[in-house]
């Protein structure tokens, strides 16, 4: 039994609407979990709540990350502890340089770990290496955060940032949506290279497609705020074949 990520009976509501209705999830080091489900089932809400968005009223029996109470931490503390969210809709931040902000982010994390600032040289070496990993053009890395990026470029920039920050747990919220097959392969390849026995990923996706390239250890189906079915990678294939209606019918029949 590890203390990596443990979620028990997680509930979240906004403006009186309960969106997450009791999620249980356990992730161990080195695992890849896929969370699938139709639109509106609460996937982004789950990732937002784990990353620390404040808009929700959140309750749970337990949410711990690396043995610490996740819900008591500010978003930046979660990040410094090694949690990373690749956003479904990354924001554009005009006037804030991608590179400068990443340097500040890396240093914030290093300070948290009791380390000194990264040297300019090490930082540049790292930028080069990680840019190559996701085939992000240098001109994009140097621009304002996501400003004027295409949809695919934004997603690649998320993976670039993830690669730079080297999280223990990466949550990818529909990073595959809207990507053409080449971009999808680049993103998947990036994730595969970052995978190790120590860090884990939660891949939130609507389609099975991504899972051809990143093979999950577990697949969960989220529907109406609950995980209604879990299985191995074959569950994703089954969903692909039969569609979500099959599961929805099964759930509602109970």
């Amino acid at each position: 039994m590890s203390d990596f990520l443990r979620v028990k009976n997680l509930r979240a509501s906004i403006e009186g609407n309960q969106i997450l209705k009791g999620i249980d999830l356990e992730v161990n080091p080195g695992e890849v979990h896929a969370i699938m489900g139709p639109n509106g089932s609460g996937k982004s809400t789950l990732s937002s709540v784990l990353a620390g968005r404040e808009d929700y009223e959140v309750e749970a029996d337990e949410v711990t990350f690396l043995g610490k109470e996740l819900l008591e931490m500010a978003p930046e503390e979660r990040a410094r502890e090694g949690l990373f969210l690749a956003f479904q809709y990354p924001v554009e931040i005009p006037g804030v340089s991608n590179i400068n902000f990443l340097k500040a982010a890396i240093n914030a994390k290093r300070h948290h770990q009791g380390l000194a600032d990264i040297t300019a040289k090490d930082f540049m070496v790292m930028v080069k290496e990680k840019q190559a990993l996701v085939e992000l053009k240098q001109s994009l890395a140097n621009r304002s955060v996501n400003e004027g990026f295409s949809g695919g470029e934004k997603k690649r920039n998320e993976i670039f940032q993830m690669a730079m920050l080297e999280p223990r747990l990466g949550i990818l919220d529909e990073t595959d949506s809207g990507l053409d097959i080449d971009a999808l392969k680049i993103v998947a390849n990036g994730v595969n290279k970052l995978k190790s026995k120590d860090n884990s990923f939660i891949l939130i996706t609507h389609y099975q497609r991504l899972l051809n390239y990143i093979v999950p250890d577990f697949v969960h189906v989220l529907y109406n705020g609950k995980i209604v079915k879990s299985g191995d990678k074959s569950l994703a294939l089954e969903l692909e074949e039969k569609g979500y209606d099959w599961i929805i019918n099964e759930v509602e029949a109970v």
């Binding site: 500010a74 930046e76 924001v91 931040i93 500040a104 982010a105 914030a108 994390k109 304002s144």
Partner: protein
């Protein structure tokens, strides 16, 4: 002290150096009164306490001005302490094509030259604070840049307001000659000056084809007041840029006026105010387009915290003859606290029919989505806010072409957010 004459009496023993000072004294002792909140242009800025207070007058000994300099700035410094010229701290090296003179010390031809311009551009007849300044300034800077001269480094007029309850009338007169180009910094710093009051007037004349930049940096200290007036007069084909950076000052009121009297002129005005505590900062600007084919461009940004209050009023007057005027104006504000407030008002009066004018103002908070995004990358709230505010004010600070000065201004921002993150 409820009476204007009682207030003035405390200055009346000061010697009038120039005839215009006598005239102004007559004006202010007679019909001209200080504005109150009943006056439209002073509606949100209460100055009564300033002109009902008793002030003291002394010039404390200052050992060093290093703490007041712009770090790393290569400039010719002209230094005044409580309005009095400090020869000790001023650079007196001679730069070809430029004359920098203390008004009080001007003699002979130089004095005659000064008197041709002094008080010719500012309105000391109807504006009480201008008249107050003209009446009682003790000294001032008189700077002329000769025809065709291009200055390689800026001239920095450093005014230090030192000691409690001082009333300093600061005066600058700058004439940039034909086809000359120069940058000026009017730097206001303070030292233990609770209850002090700076009343500054700058007349800037830009002659035909000239190009002048003036940076006003207001850092007088949190417990002092500053009323500032800048009058720019532009001749044909000239360019001017005034950048106003307001950092400290309990009560700050800026009156920036441009009289564009020749065709082919460009007038730029930029400002940033970073306010906190109970600071009150009021920027009133006025561009008077008298003739055709001129451009004016204005961008002011506010970053306001705590219970600070702000006022922006930008008036653009396009007279009937001023066809083909392009005038743009924008005022944008970020309120970092729910208790900060801003009153912003564009005022366009256009009597010509073939012009392009636009204005806009915005008031908002920091973008929550962007804040969350930056936080999820590990930046603390203050660090994230700092990046966003820097980005917000960046298009104004980018107008400061001098690197050392821009670094200092950006440093004001850093300090504003410093120590807020654990």
């Amino acid at each position: 002290m409820a009476n204007k004459l009682d207030f003035l009496k405390q200055f009346d023993q000061l010697t009038a150096l120039f005839p215009v000072q006598g005239n102004a004294r007559a004006v202010i002792h007679n019909g001209l009164d200080f504005p109150t909140t009943r006056d439209e242009y002073w509606k949100y800025t209460r100055v009564t306490s300033l002109v009902e207070s008793e002030y003291v007058r002394n010039v404390p000994n200052i050992d060093s001005i290093d703490a007041f300099r712009v770090p790393g700035l290569d400039a010719q410094y002209l230094v005044f302490v409580n309005g009095e010229y400090s020869k000790k701290f001023s650079d007196t090296e001679h730069i070809e094509g430029v004359e920098v003179t203390s008004m009080r010390l001007a003699e002979g031809e130089r004095k005659q030259q000064m008197l041709q311009h002094l008080d010719q551009y500012i309105d000391s007849e109807t504006q009480a604070f201008h008249a107050l300044n003209t009446s009682y300034f003790l000294d001032g800077s008189f700077i002329t840049v000769e025809k065709n001269t291009s200055l390689s480094k800026p001239i920095c007029i450093l005014n230090i307001c030192a000691g409690k309850r001082q009333a300093n009338n600061i005066r600058n007169l700058i004439v940039v000659g034909e086809m000359a180009k120069a940058e000026f910094i009017s730097l206001h710093e303070g030292h233990e000056n609770e209850g002090s009051f700076t009343n500054a007037v700058t007349e800037l004349k830009v002659e035909q084809g000239g190009d002048a930049s003036l940076y006003l940096i207001q850092n007088d200290g949190p417990e002092s007041a500053h009323i500032n007036a800048i009058q720019v007069v532009q001749e044909k084909d000239s360019q001017s840029k005034v950048v106003t950076i307001t950092r400290t000052g309990k009560l700050v009121r800026n009156n920036l006026n441009f009289t564009v009297a020749g065709q082919g002129c460009e007038s730029n005005m930029y400002g940033v105010y970073f306010t906190s505590d109970k600071q009150h900062v009021d920027n009133h600007t006025y561009v008077d387009h008298l003739v055709p084919n001129c451009n004016s461009n204005e961008l002011y940004k506010g970053v306001m915290s705590d219970r600070s209050t702000g006022v922006f009023n930008g008036k653009i007057m396009v007279h009937r003859d001023a066809q083909q005027t392009n005038a743009f104006q924008s005022n944008q504000n970020i309120l970092l606290s729910e208790r900060a407030t801003i009153n912003t008002k564009p005022e366009l009066e256009i009597y010509a029919d073939d012009v392009k004018c636009s204005h806009g103002c915005t008031i908002g908070q920091l973008d929550e989505e962007a804040m969350f995004y930056l936080q999820t990358r590990g930046l603390g709230k203050a660090a994230a806010a700092k990046l966003l505010v820097q980005a917000f004010s960046g298009d104004v600070t980018a107008q400061i072409t001098n690197d050392a000065l821009r670094d200092m201004v950006e440093g004001f921002l850093h300090q504003k957010f410093e120590d807020q993150d654990a």
